[in-house]
Amino acid sequence: MAGYVFIASRDPWEGTEGLRVFELAGSLAETRDAVTVYLTENGAFAARADAGERVLSPLIKAGVNVLVDPFALQERGITHDRLVAGVIAAPIEQLVDLLAEGAPSLWF
């Protein structure tokens, strides 16, 4: 079972709503089931090293699988060697595979 999938498309610094959803993802991972966060579009900004640790490192520590869309990284000039530790670049096909496994999904 793929667990839950959260698709993060917003820059986490543009408001608190996205941060609350990241907290929900961490809580689910600690108490209920496997969780994957897929960062795409401006959500990829969270993956930047020396910036996104505050948001993503607690998730990774809680066991959340954090993936980032390479297309979104490329569009924003974020190189793969400048990602928060533990974040994995994963093509959108990997997101499709999770959806195909039936993972409940939330886009925010």
Partner: protein, 136 residues
């Protein structure tokens, strides 16, 4: 093994948001994986498949229509239907009829059909998974 069927609910109008291109990328990847895909286009998303969209020149850049090669979402929808045929998968695209009437975009590209939220209900019940891509 039963076929995998993914349903996507789109809400954004064309040329407004990165969510549209991401949605198209997901549909493309799912079809290439051999999955059947349903799309329920709601609100402004019904205009994605509007057949009368046309590419334009770009005078600022000194390009004519061919040189500009401006993409239109209706062409992307056409290409997704072609891809589904090539991959022997099914793409079922339903535009919300009331949303279409409100916007006067009832001329959709071949393959797109008119429907209602009842079609979404049917899609969800028959799908492996459903992804709702909301507006902001």
């Amino acid at each position: 093994m039963p076929r995998i069927v993914l349903t996507l609910v789109l809400n954004d109008p064309p040329y407004e948001s990165a969510r549209t291109s991401t949605a198209f990328r997901i549909v493309d990847a799912a079809i290439r994986r051999g999955h059947d895909v349903n799309v329920f286009a709601y609100e402004g998303a019904v205009s994605l498949a509007f057949a009368r969209q046309s590419p334009h020149a770009n005078a600022v850049h000194g390009r004519d229509v061919d040189g500009e090669d401006h993409p239109t979402t209706s062409n992307w929808v056409r290409e997704l239907f072609e891809l589904a045929r090539e991959q022997s998968t099914k793409l079922d695209w339903v535009n919300c009829g009331l949303c279409t009437d409100e916007r006067g975009t009832d001329e959709a590209v071949l393959g797109v059909r008119r429907g209602s939220p009842a079609d979404l209900w049917s899609f969800v019940n028959a799908s492996t998974n459903t992804l709702v891509i909301p507006t902001r």
